[in-house]
């Protein structure tokens, strides 16, 4: 903070502490005129609107404890931040404390994850303990998007089937988890984009292409439109999705023949995808989870598709 506000705080703190001490001493002595009446309970002699005040002293140890708190405050303000920009002799920061706790946790729990480091993903996928740990990591990190059961949803791939956008081998899965898809923060992220075809092929073209795509998956379609759509497909779609429509895992272009629809399988959704394009995103988890945890996660995700 700026020097002005730093001084502002310092002044307020000092005035408060010094002021409390002054108040304590200033109210300590009570002056009363007149003599004590015999046989009556001791009063201070003050009369306010006819209401008198008994002399019931407070215990001295209260005063002493208050002074102790003042001494504590002074020591505290020397050791810890509190006087404006002064950082305190101990150099404590909340981020520093957080980092200490993270480091302690890594030291304590790190070995639990590290012990699986040298086992292959395929072996881990059959190891109940590894699957439990991987499952919990999944619940914490992945289930928000991919669902508690990993079966995905609109825009979030189903991890439990054998349909893979970028490949279902352990290596491919690990890469996807580590580097994400279209991540802003990881230069090694998977780059994937389906361009909008609408401007180029027009509404009729979109309709035809959609029908052709449905025919590839064995869905209900208009045969005449599908025939037209085949031509559209060959020109605009085959480059990424393959001439047979079976997709391209290098490009992340889905397989259009397996009746699995990441962005919805109804005609309006498929047409929307063709017309406006798609570019999914998944965060890169490499920095957050690090190698050992990602190794376990890969095994868990891999196991989902093996059932």
């Amino acid at each position: 903070m700026s020097t002005f506000w730093s001084l502002w705080i310092i002044v307020i703190v000092v005035i408060n502490i010094a002021g409390s001490v002054w108040l304590l001493y200033a109210t300590r002595r009570v002056e009363v005129s007149g003599t004590q009446e015999e046989g009556q309970p001791p009063t201070t002699g003050h009369i306010y609107d006819g209401i008198e005040e008994y002399d019931n002293p407070l215990p001295k140890w209260w005063f002493n404890m208050f002074m102790l708190t003042v001494i504590f405050s002074v020591i505290y303000l020397v050791l810890y931040p509190g006087m404006g920009n002064f950082k305190g002799l101990l150099g404590w920061t909340s981020i520093g404390q957080w980092q200490e706790q993270i480091d302690a946790a890594d030291e304590q729990y790190g070995p639990l994850f590290a012990k699986f480091h040298d086992t292959t993903v395929a072996e881990l996928a059959a190891n109940p303990e590894a699957l439990k740990m991987g499952g919990r990591l999944f619940a914490n990190n992945c289930s928000t998007c991919h669902g508690s059961d990993g079966r995905g949803g609109y825009g979030f791939p189903n991890l439990a089937d054998d349909d893979w956008l970028y490949g279902g081998s352990p290596e491919a899965i690990k890469y996807t988890i580590t580097h994400g898809v279209n991540s802003d923060y990881d230069p090694s992220t998977r780059r994937v984009m389906m361009p909008a075809q609408g401007p180029m092929i027009g509404d009729a073209g979109v309709d035809n292409a959609a029908n052709y795509v449905f025919s590839l998956s064995g869905r209900k379609h208009d045969a005449a439109k599908a025939e037209e759509g085949a031509k559209v497909f060959a020109t605009y779609c085959a480059a990424c999705h393959g001439a047979d429509g079976k997709g391209n895992q290098m490009l992340g272009a889905p397989n259009l023949t397996d009746d699995v629809w990441l962005y919805g399988g109804s005609p309006e959704f498929v047409k929307h995808s063709i017309r406006s394009g798609r570019a999914g995103a998944m965060p890169a988890h490499g920095d957050l989870l690090k190698d050992d945890k990602i190794h376990l996660l890969t095994a868990y995700v891999y196991s989902l598709s093996q059932q």
Partner: protein
């Protein structure tokens, strides 16, 4: 009364100005020990409570400590009952009932809790017993404190302090033993293997016990305890209080034994001040009911002994009511007391019924919320649920899971699960429905979990099934 009073002449005026210190150094109280009925009664309250506190953690039931507040596992064991975090309401009600019972007793007999059963009193009296053992009776203790530091004084003081520290340490370890099984804690503590947290709390309670019972004593009752401040709110003119019969005792004064004091214009009080000397809070009960009085009855014992010697009737100071003192009749079953008792009885009955009818099963349905619903590749609407089934019994159980609602959902998941004793099982369940059949976007579903072995152990929880909004 203020200690530091000074007189100051104001210049040019006849008026005296007194200066008070708002704070007063406390005068040490030396209590005198006298025999008597109420002192004996305390044996039957202090000893059992003290013993119960120390021996209870050593009891084992079912292979575990009988009274054990197991914080890491989030289970409180009180003999055969186990309370889980979901039972916290019961714990809250138990505390409310205890407080209310205390208030009911206060209406009837004043603050006898303070004088006979409060831990502060119990531990202070044990510390005072140690003090009496090492330093002698009242006069001897006063003399010892004034004496110079001889070897004997050092030895006596050291012996007393050592006894105090031992009692405090045992108290501290026992307290932590209610949370950390005491049979392991004790050997670990004395071989320096105990967990740092256990050591910290043990030493903290040792210190607090030592300070409270050794030094603070009546300061706790006078300045720290909330009950001390508000207990008199529950008094009425039929409440038993320790009271000095002013009509009988005043005017007080010394007289020869055997003299007819009434003709001399004296009351029964011989002004021996023994009632002041025995008082643990250092008051004079002859000044009337004071908030410092903890109703311990020791002044009654002291006065009765003197009355007996003088040949006067006993109970010049006694447990009596204001109505009695003014000559009226004391009514025990008055509306206030009856009301308190009925409310207390009702609360206890409801509490016992609730505890007795607890079922050892807890079911929670956690619906996947980030996705409102999911559309499967067949076009069905699907919702995902995580069922958490907590088996709070101490035997394993198998449970059946049933789903019901306004629609005939397709159920994908376990219909039968096995859960170990004390385990919380997580199982994933999916419900599917044809969207064409769904009439509203949000419909209730009910999951019923029932133990196969005991049909009484069942619980039904409500959740929701979400689907597309029909336009």
């Amino acid at each position: 009364m203020s200690q530091d009073t000074e007189h100051k002449q104001q210049r040019g005026s006849e008026e005296t100005i007194r200066v008070f210190d708002l704070y007063e150094t406390r005068e040490k109280i030396y209590t005198r020990r006298l025999k008597g009925f109420y002192r004996d009664v305390k044996k039957y309250t202090l000893l059992p409570l003290f013993a119960a506190y120390f021996f209870l953690p050593w009891l084992n039931i079912d292979g575990r400590q009988a009274v054990w507040f197991d914080l890491p596992e989030r289970q409180f064991h009180i003999f055969w009952l186990t309370f889980w975090p979901q039972d916290f309401m019961l714990l809250a009600w138990l505390l409310i009932i205890s407080a209310f019972a205390l208030f009911t007793i206060t209406v009837l007999v004043g603050r006898v809790w303070c004088g006979f059963t409060c831990p502060q009193t119990v531990w202070t009296l044990w510390f005072m017993a140690a003090e009496h053992f090492w330093e002698g009776d009242r006069n001897q203790r006063i003399k010892l404190d004034k004496a110079p530091w001889t070897a004997e004084k050092v030895a006596r003081k050291a012996g007393k302090q050592a006894t105090w520290v031992v009692i405090a340490l045992v108290t501290g370890i026992t307290f932590v033993g209610y949370f950390n099984p005491i049979r392991e804690l004790v050997p670990e503590f004395f071989t320096f293997q105990a967990h740092p947290a256990a050591v910290f709390w043990t030493l903290l309670f040792t210190f607090m016990t030592y300070m409270n019972a050794g030094f603070l004593r009546e300061q706790v009752c006078l300045y720290m305890c909330p009950y001390a401040r508000f207990q008199s709110v529950m008094f009425d003119k039929d409440t038993l209080i320790v009271s000095y019969d002013t009509r009988r005792g005043e005017p007080r004064g010394a007289r020869k034994k055997g003299a007819d004091h009434q003709t001399e214009g004296l009351g029964d009080c011989v002004d021996c001040s023994l009632c002041v000397q025995v008082c643990p809070t250092g008051i004079d009960i002859r000044d009337g009911l004071q908030y410092e009085c903890i109703s311990c009855g020791l002044c009654i014992d002291a006065c009765d002994a003197v009355m007996d010697k003088m040949g006067y009737p006993l109970k010049l100071i006694s447990f009596t009511t204001e109505h009695n003192l003014s000559g009226a009749k004391t009514q025990v079953l008055r509306p206030r007391f009856v009301g308190y008792t009925l409310v207390l009885a009702a609360m206890v009955a409801v509490f016992l019924y609730t505890v007795a009818t607890r079922i050892p099963l807890e079911v929670d349905i956690i619906r996947d919320r980030n996705l409102l619903y999911r559309e499967t590749s067949e076009g069905l609407v699907e919702n995902i649920y995580t069922l958490k089934i907590a088996n709070k019994a101490n035997v394993p159980h198998s449970y059946t899971i049933d789903v019901s609602g306004d629609y005939d959902f397709t159920y994908l998941g376990d219909t039968r699960v096995e859960v170990a004793a004390g385990e919380v099982l997580s199982t994933l369940v999916r419900l599917e429905l044809d969207p064409g059949l769904l009439r509203e976007p949000n419909t209730k579903v009910y999951f019923a979990v029932a133990a196969e072995a005991d049909p009484a152990i069942r619980e039904t929880q409500e959740s929701r099934f979400l689907g597309p909004f029909k336009r």
